[in-house]
């Protein structure tokens, strides 16, 4: 069997916090990502969703080697990436690229678009200097920008256009996998659709795989085949797009989906929203057992003290659904369904 393009197993990332003691030991640890596993096939899209601080960006940054994994493995076409040195990473860097949230911050203001797009080619020794310019023009064309603007600087473009440049730069090396961390959240509402359509078109054209992070669930639903819902560093549910949005199983997934405001006044008036109590707990001091238990509306249905005592593992159930809850099939799932 050929391995998946990206295979993540038990990925864990801990950060030292609170400074160091006299002996140089960290005073505490923050577990930003804990035991995250998933596969991503060529040409497919996987979404990571969850609330601020749940570990989406840390997962992405650990996968591309910006953070060193504390434990677990990341394989690209079966080859292990964790533990690689900077140089060891180089051959893979071409194949895994990242698009960032903030198109303003991620482009060098002193470089022209031509040199922004040629730089990755130069670093990897691809294409002769003369051909790099031609390649830059083709990339601009691919992302819907006017090739005549190739000698302009980033500030001469609008926010949406700058994000297109960010996408073009990521595409320069013809990657297999694009990691997009909130690629549209900094953009005006009327511009977001342009970029989402572009990402979809490019995926079809170049067979790209996307690891896609967004807090807007409707955006994720639009772009992803499969979704991982994260809470406090862990994946609490993994499901196909249709399963998740039609019938979320984990109590947190259900609350999350039901909290999304719908741009439809009639549906808004009818819907029953699960309003969670309390705040997202701090990852420096996570609750015992199931991290969701202090807010979980279904906790009473689990006998005894199980939710507080033991962390449920993420596993497949009889019907094939994958979630991490002590309840087999949390009931009320049908009631919480989003009207299709």
């Amino acid at each position: 069997m050929t391995p998946p393009l990206l295979e993540v197993r038990g990925l864990t990332k801990r950060f030292p916090v609170g400074g160091r003691s006299l002996l140089g030991k960290p005073r505490g640890w923050l577990e930003a990502v804990r035991d995250v596993s998933f596969d991503l096939e060529r040409g497919r899209s996987l979404g990571l969703v969850g609330e601020s601080g749940c570990g989406k960006s840390t997962t992405a940054r650990t996968i591309i080697g910006l953070h060193r994994a504390t434990a677990g493995s990341v394989r690209l076409d079966g080859e292990e990436l964790t533990g690689l040195t900077r140089r060891g990473w180089l051959p893979y860097r071409r194949r895994v690229q990242m698009v960032f949230q903030d198109p303003y911050a991620s482009l060098d203001p002193r470089q022209t678009v031509a040199s922004i797009l040629a730089e990755p080619l130069a670093i990897h020794g691809l294409a002769k200097p003369r051909d790099r310019k031609l390649r830059a023009l083709a990339l601009l064309e691919a992302v819907g920008l006017n090739p005549r603007h190739v000698n302009r600087y980033p500030h001469e473009f609008s926010g949406g256009q700058r994000q297109r440049i960010g996408v073009a730069r990521a595409l320069a090396l013809e990657p297999d996998l694009l990691i997009c961390d909130e690629p549209v959240s900094a953009l005006d509402v009327s511009i977001q659709a342009q970029i989402l359509n572009l990402l979809k078109e490019l995926q079809e054209r170049f067979g790209l795989a996307y690891l896609f992070i967004a807090h807007d669930l409707a955006v994720v639903r639009h772009l992803c085949d499969e979704v991982c819902v994260m809470y406090l560093g862990r994946v609490v549910e993994r499901a196909s797009r249709d399963d998740l949005f039609r019938d979320p199983r984990h109590p947190y997934s259900r609350a999350l989906l039901s909290a999304v405001p719908l741009a439809d006044p009639e549906a808004e008036a009818e819907r029953r929203r699960i309003v969670l109590e309390g705040d997202v707990p701090s990852p420096t001091n996570p609750p015992t057992g199931c991290a969701f238990h202090p807010r979980c509306p279904d906790r009473e249905r689990v006998p005894g003290d199980l939710c507080r005592a033991e962390c449920p593992s993420l596993r497949a159930r009889a019907d094939g659904r994958v979630h991490a809850c002590h309840l087999e099939a949390p009931a009320g799932a049908a009631a919480a369904r989003i009207q299709a």
Binding site: L217, F245, D264, P265, L276, D279
Partner: protein, 349 residues
């Protein structure tokens, strides 16, 4: 019934190095008691400046309130001396912002900030004020309110700070609450808590709310009426359901069609709006949406279309207006499609 807040022809410009920015240009609206008015538009469309102008808070220079009246309790707020206006702010007319830290003082305990409001506006004793402040925190769902009075803002989570700010804004039982993106910085589950809280408090006190947001979902759930802003002007106003069911302005229509939804087909392309929002220092002649509008023609470029009542709304009682020379035709076509049994439902599919 006369409105609690009546804004007429409000216009604000900023004199900047890049030229004159027409941030708010001839904005009018009225707000009834207990009503929620949604103000939607993209970033830079003038929502926040409108809000600041209502409260006499436009930074000057570079800002200049060129024209307009803001009638509250029979008085024009824009003509009030600064001292009178300050007395009103935080008392009869209150506001909450996207970032609670802009209205909370990081150096004072929550309790001190709340009691100060009551001492200044209500002349309460420190002790009574403390009691009322604790009750205010309890009202917005803060557990152990007595203990929280001694906390500093940075010791609270984002959702909690937002609650404290709301409690502070509501302490004096205002008639009008202006909420500028009150939940934009919050997570959706916390947003749901805050929106529910605002609705409960409104039902209890009959507060009128101006809800400023770029999130069409938030307006759909909260607002009775919606003003859509584009490039500093209101381009469409309608009761919320009517607006979503049969939008009349091409910008509103395009905006509603462009957002991905939990109920739309994920396999279809989104109907993206071409181009980008205009530069307010360099607006195109005539209709500002012209360069992005698929229906644009010569007539659109000669004059800025006025926000005029829809023909259909003259027959019914619904106050619907739009600023487009094609609004009637679009609205009527939209309504017909909507009424047809297997018609294409623009607002849902």
């Amino acid at each position: 019934m006369s409105p609690v807040l009546d804004v007429r022809d409000l216009s604000v410009r900023f004199d900047t190095r890049d030229g004159t920015v027409r941030a708010v240009d001839g904005v009018s609206f009225a707000l009834e008691e207990g009503e929620t008015l949604g103000l939607v538009g993209e970033s830079g469309s003038g929502k926040s400046v409108t809000n600041l102008a209502l409260l006499g808070l436009v930074p000057s220079p570079p800002g200049v309130v060129e024209r307009g009246e803001v009638l509250f309790d029979g008085r024009d707020l824009l003509a009030l001396p600064p001292r009178e206006l300050r007395k009103l702010r935080g008392d009869r007319v209150s506001m909450i912002f996207q970032d609670p830290m802009t209205s909370l003082n990081p150096l004072l305990t929550v309790g001190r900030q709340l009691t100060e409001v009551l001492e200044v506006h209500r002349g309460m004793s420190r002790r009574d004020a403390r009691k009322k402040a604790a009750a205010g925190l309890a009202d917005v769902g803060i557990p152990a309110p007595e203990a929280r009075l001694d906390a500093y803002p940075h010791e609270l989570s984002g959702g909690m700070r937002q609650r404290v700010m709301i409690a502070m804004a509501l302490l004096c039982d205002p008639k009008v609450l202006i909420a500028d993106e009150p939940t934009t910085a919050l997570d959706v589950t916390i947003q749901a808590q805050i929106l529910e809280l605002l609705q409960d408090l409104q039902a209890k006190h009959g507060t009128a709310i101006v809800m400023i947001t770029h999130d069409l979902g938030v307006v759909a759930g909260m607002a009775d009426r919606v003003n859509v802003m584009y490039a500093g002007r209101v381009v469409e106003t309608a009761p919320t359901r009517d607006l979503f069911r049969a939008p009349a302005h091409p910008y509103t229509r395009a905006l509603l069609a462009s957002i991905p939804r939990l109920s739309s087909s994920p396999d279809e392309d989104l109907a993206a709006i071409p181009g980008a929002p205009p530069d307010l220092a360099d607006l195109p002649p005539g209709c500002a949406f012209g360069p992005r509008c698929e229906r644009v023609r010569d007539a659109c470029r000669t004059a800025v279309p006025a926000l005029a009542a829809l023909r259909a709304s003259l027959r019914s009682n619904a106050d619907r207006r739009a600023a487009c020379i094609d609004a009637d035709a679009l609205h009527e076509a939209g309504t017909a499609a909507h009424a047809a049994p297997d018609g294409h439902r623009e607002d849902r599919r």
